[in-house]
């Protein structure tokens, strides 16, 4: 469906993740929530249509987009050059400060210190990508289905460190006070919206929308609500990741 179709129908179908708080998730009442959900709502407003959310899992977000089951993905998708060969990214709208977390008393200052360690990451996440790139050959990387399993693995001692996002600190602290801390930051990974390659209308619309919310402070509001921090400064371009359809 094209943007025009969506406008005609008065509905845009947005794919978000179903279990990745605080980005995109389904809350206990069964309603989608989180940063991506709020951005999706703003996007629908921008188009002047109603949003329809499809909660997706990591394994099926791309198929859902490619087969037209959703119009656009706001699904916590870290932007990498390799992935950009398959889907069309928009301009970035969020950034992940990714860190390695580990026990307070252990020295982990950089990738080299991960040598020989088992390190947990949520499978297919930005952390997975970053740590695999940085320490893939040195560390024993265990890829769990989601953040919950990843954190549980650290708590139960199945791994010695985990790659996590900015929220891991709070969670670890709540589960085991004062035991774990952030060790070092990985590269910042930006999230972009995903559309089907070659579909200019969606890409341009999404980019225009992102420009608008960046400019009018709406993104900052949503960011503060969910990420509890300032909007990072976004790069103008990323190597080999085009933001627009060529």
């Amino acid at each position: 469906a094209s943007v025009a179709d969506a406008k005609a129908k008065g509905k845009v179908v947005i794919g978000i993740q179903g279990d990745n708080a605080p980005w995109g998730f389904v809350n206990s009442s069964g309603v989608q929530d989180g940063l991506d959900a709020d951005i999706g709502k703003a996007f629908a407003d921008y188009l002047g249509v109603k949003p329809e959310f499809v909660p997706l899992a990591v394994a099926n977000r791309i198929p859902a987009l490619m087969t037209g089951k959703v119009d656009v993905l706001f699904a916590t998708m870290g932007m990498t050059a390799e992935r950009a060969k398959t889907i069309q990214y928009s301009k970035p709208y969020a950034g992940n400060v990714l860190s390695v977390y580990g026990p307070k008393d252990k020295k982990i200052a950089g990738y080299d210190d991960l040598t020989g360690m088992s390190v947990g990451v949520p499978k297919s996440s930005a952390m997975d990508t970053a740590i695999t790139a940085g320490a893939g050959s040195k560390a024993n990387i265990l890829r769990f289905d989601d953040d919950a399993a990843n954190i549980q693995a650290l708590l139960s001692g199945q791994v010695e460190a985990v790659g996590g996002n900015q929220f891991y600190g709070d969670r670890l602290n709540a589960a085991a006070p004062d035991k774990y801390t952030s060790k070092f930051d990985l590269t910042i990974l930006y999230n972009g919206a995903g559309t089907r390659p070659g579909e200019k209308d969606w890409n341009e619309t999404v980019n225009a929308f992102i420009d608008k919310i960046k400019a009018d402070g709406e993104l900052a509001k949503i960011y503060a609500k969910w990420m509890k921090r300032e909007v990072p400064k976004f790069p103008e371009e990323l190597p080999n990741i085009p933001f627009t359809v060529k």
């Binding site: 179903g18 809350n27 069964g30 087969t67 989601d146």
Partner: protein, 216 residues
């Protein structure tokens, strides 16, 4: 970080509802087509038996998850956009009919040959022979195995998450990601499955015993 409260339990219960609905679809679709598969597998035409054998090999030889994926997304690739319900109905039917068909083939072949011959000698036609003579006995013979498979199918419905169903397992995963208590959540989910499956298993075992004593 939330704790596991009423809301979470209610959410899990919603998931349970879908699990039961998906199970029902699998049972009905698998039952009907499984019967056809079993009959084709025991047919007199050699080519039909061979085709069905291939069908069974494919659906028993690949993970159900992949079958769901291929039916829902793969078919959409070639331009057929089907509803998620239809997709799970088709995938579960294919999957369950392969297994049930194989189980019931065994049952049909375990009915002594003399029974078919007696029916033929009385002039009964194929349909009547199957319906009045073979199936009632084959069904009895394969009942325990059938129930065993149905229990596995109930557990297998969890894979429907890939086409977007938030059934019991997926609900558990979601709750676990909100509460960060995967152990508690999955213990609850495990218990729920146990409570659905166990009565069925017990019934299966009881029937098996009853059939065995009756056969003596």
């Amino acid at each position: 970080m939330a704790s596991i409260g009423f809301n979470e339990l209610f959410f899990l219960a919603q998931g349970l509802k879908w699990t039961l609905a998906l199970t029902l679809i699998g049972f009905v679709g698998g039952g009907i087509f499984g019967l056809l598969v079993a009959l084709a597998r025991t047919a007199e035409m050699a080519w039909l038996r061979r085709v069905t054998a291939g069908y069974i090999a494919i659906f028993q030889g690949t993970p159900l998850l992949m079958q769901l994926f291929v039916v829902y997304y793969g078919v959409a690739l070639v331009g057929l956009n089907i509803d998620a319900w239809l997709a799970v109905a088709i995938a579960f039917t294919l999957h369950a009919s392969a297994y049930l068909g194989e189980i019931w083939r065994g049952g049909i072949q375990a009915v002594p040959k003399g029974q078919t011959e007696a029916a033929k000698a009385l002039g009964l036609h194929y349909a009547s022979t199957i319906k009045d003579v073979i199936l009632p006995q084959a069904f009895k013979i394969s009942l325990p195995a059938t129930i065993g498979f149905l229990v596995q199918l109930i557990k297998g419905t969890s894979l429907a998450a890939i086409v977007g169903f938030v059934e019991l397992s997926r609900a558990g995963q979601i709750v676990s990601n909100q509460t960060f208590r995967p152990l508690t959540v999955f213990a609850l989910v495990g218990l729920a499955y146990f409570l659905i499956c166990w009565p069925l298993s017990l019934w299966g075992a009881r029937t098996e015993r009853r059939l065995q004593t009756a056969a003596r």
